[in-house]
Amino acid sequence: MRNPVKFMIIFTLLAAVMLATLFTGTYSLTFGDIMSLLTFSAADDVELVFYEFRMPRMLITIICGAALALSGLILQVLSRNPLADPGIIGVNAGSGFGVVLFIMFVSGTGTMNLYSLPLMSFTGGLLTVLIVFFLSFIGGRFNSNIFILIGIATAMGVTGFLYVFTSTFDDSQMTMLNRYLAGNIWGDSWAFVIAILPYIILVSVFVWMKINEMSMLNLEDENLSALGMNVNFEKIVLIICAALLSSVAVSVAGAISFIGLIAPHIARLLFPRNMKLIFAGTVGIGALLLSAADLAGKLLLAPAVIPAGIVVALIGGPYFIYLLMTARKV
């Protein structure tokens, strides 16, 4: 199959999921409503559901899915390990810690505003990855396997530690935390779309400019140094980008794992070797996966809603085990 055809398929699927997301849900839109939306003559409640509830949520899933996938791609390239994922190495746990601090100290006080929760969770996720990153330098050299191991340990330790504050939580606070940790997309209004979209585009464009370095990183460090690349510097820059992307995505979409694992892997299968195509494919597939997971979570057991993070993990887990069994180079 030729590459344009593959991209056509990805974007057709994405468009189908987008339409399905917009037109399904507890408030059912009739065919007449859809026609009236097209002709700008819809009733107020139809417009409200369509423009204020469904559309921003759909956009959030697409943006966050793409960001998580790209972050996963960067981590996999850097660690030369196809099993790396931002969720596995501590981003989710760190953001969860930010959320706990928010519930503990900010929620319900006068200083609270719309962005304080995502900001705290973003800071938690980013700080965690950066600490893990700086701990994985041994003898002045960044070591990607150590990075993954320390990340896994940190994810475990921080998850254990964040419950230190929860003994004073009441039921509603506990429910809030659990919904966050299950990967429930909660930042689903225009305010969040406007806040994160420019940011994610900016970081992604920057990563795109580093695409040549990324495609060379599968060589040995010594060879790269011999070719004149400042390997440590490039790795630091790229890992900070990965941390920026995943922690912002997790801060509005909740703790979601496995997108950063699956999307780059499928993209590598579809577009072998060409890093530019892998980049584009990863972004598209990531967006498709998270929006499809959110749609599935909404429809499967309706009216009950399953958090998108759980749907992703239910698909991602078996895929992960399959990857483990087939991974040749780890």
Binding site: N81, L83, D85, G87, I88, L135, I138, N143, N145, I146, I148, L149, I150, I152, A153, T154, A155, M156, G157, V158, G160, F161, L162, Y163, V164, T166, S167, T168, M174, N178, A182, S257, F258, L261, L301, A304, I306, P307, G309, I310, A313, L314, G316, G317, P318, F320, I321, L324, M325, A327, V330
Partner: protein, 327 residues
């Protein structure tokens, strides 16, 4: 490693004293504090009418015993897994064994609402075995980083699956206990069911101490020494998983303890299993009694939070110390 072969048993009195001290401390301190006299009179001369006696004997004593037993089991499980997988970072929660046990206990409770404690233990064992053998067959314990990633990924998946059943069936309260961990609410009856099994399994492992020692020289070397590696690997792994899943059934998923304790023991008495199994069990038991005590004093914080505070820095230290084998 500062102890020579001859005087390794000299540490035993120190450990026994440590256990008695931590037992006394764990009985004394908590949400309410008591004196040493109150502790000993209520344990040895229990009076039904006395309220202090009742609290100490019927609530705190089972809890302290449960903590000791669970700490002992999980630390020995960690020690055996480290030996068998040739990996310094192996431990029941990192390898996903605890997640498997946890998942099957939840599923069991969902299918059979009247599931007995023994049923929970059996369910946990099945789950732990399943994960253990998936990991064994998928990774063959060859690449250390592959093994740890496999465990982390499988845990993540199983916790999501558990969450899925919890959300669709409103099991929240029931499950929160297992995932956050803690020794509260364990009865003496449950300890009496677990303890004999635990000692039989540990006895079996002790019996295998020599074979376990031979694992330390590596799979190829031990095979050339004539050891049936696969057989002993599976037997000792099954024993370790039994210990881990029994501890999940009484205290939930406890992190890092199974990693921390064997390393401290190996640093002091070396690697021979006839010493390490015993010392690891005793140290793990007393450390967990103390962690549970600190958790109680901090307003009933989940005990994992307490252990993580020591366990995480220690884990990072171990990785950085032995970095070369993973690099």
């Amino acid at each position: 490693m500062w102890l020579t072969m001859k005087n390794k048993w000299l540490l035993m009195p120190v450990f026994i004293a440590g256990i008695i001290l931590s037992f006394t401390a764990a009985m004394m301190f908590g949400v309410e504090n008591y004196t040493v006299g109150q502790v000993f009179s209520s344990v040895f001369n229990y009076e039904a009418g006395d309220s202090v006696s009742q609290i100490l004997y019927e609530i705190r004593l089972p809890r302290v015993f449960a903590a000791f037993l669970a700490g002992l089991m999980i630390s020995i499980a960690g020690l055996i897994m480290q030996t068998v997988t040739h990996n310094d970072l192996s431990e029941p929660s990192i390898l996903g064994i605890n997640a498997g046990a946890n998942f099957f206990i939840v599923i069991g409770a969902l299918l059979i609402p009247t599931l007995s404690f023994v049923g929970m233990v059996i369910g946990g064992f099945i789950g732990g075995m399943l994960v253990g053998f998936i990991i064994l067959f998928v990774t063959r314990f060859k690449s250390p980083i592959h093994l740890i990633l496999a465990g982390a990924g499988i845990s993540l998946f199983l916790y999501a699956l558990t969450d899925f059943f919890v959300i669709t069936n409103n099991l929240g309260q029931y499950v929160a206990f297992f995932t956050s961990g803690g020794a509260a609410g364990v009865s003496l009856g449950q300890i009496m069911i677990i303890a004999p099994f635990a000692f039989v399994v540990i006895g079996a492992l002790y019996f295998l101490a020599k074979e376990l020692d031979i694992f330390l020289v590596g799979d190829e070397m031990s095979a050339s020494l004539g050891q049936k590696n696969a057989l002993y690997q599976i037997i000792s792994l099954v024993c370790a998983i039994m210990l881990a899943s029994m501890s999940v059934a009484i205290v939930g998923n406890i992190v890092f303890l199974g990693l921390l304790v064997p390393h401290i023991v190996k640093m002091t008495v070396g690697y021979m299993h006839k010493y390490t199994i015993l010392y690891t069990g005793l140290l793990g038991g007393s450390l967990f009694m103390l962690s549970d005590m600190v958790a109680r004093m901090l307003n009933e914080t989940p005990v994992n939070a307490v252990i993580s505070m020591i366990g995480l820095p220690f884990f990072i230290y171990i990785i950085r110390q032995r970095g070369r084998q993973y690099a």
